[in-house]
Symmetry: C2
Subunit: 131 residues, 2 copies
């Protein structure tokens, strides 16, 4: 949960951005504190305040902070890279996983060759790893 | 580029969804063909038609298909998982990369131990792999 609480007189970053009164049960207030104005500006620019509000109402209260943080991450990624957004990061990671799996397979094959050079006597002590 | 072209009489999926006339230079038409109505419905639900249109105008024409496909991927992921969206896939992949890197390091260490058992004579033929 964010450090924001309604005893402060400042409207939350969302209400300030949208120039509206920040009511006591404002759905944005716990996740968009006034000291982080860019977080709301970003998600508003990419998803729109109304869609963010819809998502917040769709998820359980204890999951809202995670939902806001993942939306803020996606929004920032899309602003940095309008073509691929955070899907670009997924592609990079998928390629990295494939490369590591291939390297691990090759290293395991090397390990097997070494083991056969040693007559396989100590193979059970090491074993091959499989990704 | 999508197979959609304006010689068809059907409005694109976006204009049909938004109940508006599909003009000849409609920014959505090449990427939201009428036979794929869900693709537009999803991006509209998560990003809003106006934000999608803004992003399309921001990127170069040759990058628009990639932009639409990444938006459609993100929208589908967010509809499936409203809390984490495609950021959930990023977390899973990041953990997989860390696990594979650790396994590769351990396998390389095993390889080094085997090499020292063999007196290091043939080590240069194998070498250690580093993730």
């Amino acid at each position: 949960m964010s450090s924001y609480s309604n005893y402060t007189n400042s409207p939350c970053a969302a209400c300030k951005f949208l120039r509206r009164k920040c009511i006591s049960d404002c759905v944005f207030a716990p996740y968009f504190p006034p000291e982080e104005p860019t977080k709301f500006a970003n998600v508003h620019r990419i998803f729109g305040a109304s869609n963010v509000s819809k998502i917040l109402h769709e998820v359980a209260p204890h999951q809202r902070e995670d939902a806001v943080n993942s939306l803020a991450y996606e929004a920032e990624a899309r602003l940095k890279d309008p073509v691929y957004g955070c899907v670009g990061a997924i592609s990079v990671l998928q390629r990295q996983v494939l490369r590591l799996q291939r390297e691990l397979e090759e290293t395991n094959a090397d390990l097997m060759r070494y083991a056969s050079c040693l007559g396989g006597e100590t193979m059970s002590a090491y074993g091959g790893r499989r990704g």
